[in-house]
Subunit: 190 residues, 2 copies
Amino acid sequence: MQLLEDRIRRDGIVREGGVLKVDSFLNHQMDIPLFEQLAAEFARLYDGCGINKVLTIEASGIGIACITAQKLGCPLVFAKKSKTKNIAGEVWTSQVESFTHGGIYDIIVSKDFLGPEDRVLLVDDFLANGAALTGLIQLVRDAGATLIGAGIVIEKAFQPGGEALRSQGVRVESLARIRAMSVENGVEFC
Amino acid sequence: MQLLEDRIRRDGIVREGGVLKVDSFLNHQMDIPLFEQLAAEFARLYDGCGINKVLTIEASGIGIACITAQKLGCPLVFAKKSKTKNIAGEVWTSQVESFTHGGIYDIIVSKDFLGPEDRVLLVDDFLANGAALTGLIQLVRDAGATLIGAGIVIEKAFQPGGEALRSQGVRVESLARIRAMSVENGVEFC
């Protein structure tokens, strides 16, 4: 998506270690008019698929997932990263390995909000190793829901997550796919 | 706000220990058309205040904050609960005591996204002891930004946070204020 690639080129900052900072518009400060355009593109790509639920994971994906749910006219559910006393005992759960923070954490979704009647679009801000998306897909399958696909804002295509999921038959639509990036040369898109 | 009180009466579940479960529409599954009506009410209450930034804290407040920012036509910034390697060193930071999970955690906002030019509306889903809001207010003051007020979806008015903040001169607008609640009698509004 040209608009997004242009924005990443203009405002994204590449740091050592494969880090792309896009926190001025995507995952710390959120540019809502931009999100509306991204969400419209997800809606166009998945038009006619009968999506009736958007599923994301806390925290930075909630904003774009929220605007996407608005565009699709369906509710949003976000998977929580740990069990709190506000969640009843009946939850779907899976595990996610964190490459940013290290370690493994549980994600949970109440069984009340994910079931066989749901046709689910997964939405997240980033796809790199695919750990978060893989955890969400497990929740969808355990719930007996239908996985329609995933809508990703930025895919680090030089990391294996996207291709691994596509090779398993998961539809993954990424609005910007980064082929390579470096502090010296900036970002190159696929 | 009648619409919200009706929804809480219909779909909210009171649990022992002062817990109100509203996760079918507010803070796990999110009802976006409802959020649009709540956000419109925040916009009406703060009309003419020149708000140019919405500030919230991860994770469950991000959805309503996002739709409120959309309605106000300004960006949203969410305070993060711990330092990640994707945040540069230059951050505003304060501490928040968690009554839900126990313990104290740091919240941070990049100095790039909160400064003296900002006229800030704080948005969150719940106000009880006021710990999260107090932490956010500290960030706003440290940044030299102007605190316009807070927009809260549900205030537990039987807990001290709301009145403590109002007595300090903070404008707090809560769309539903709960006077008392119990498993036996349900929710009573102010």
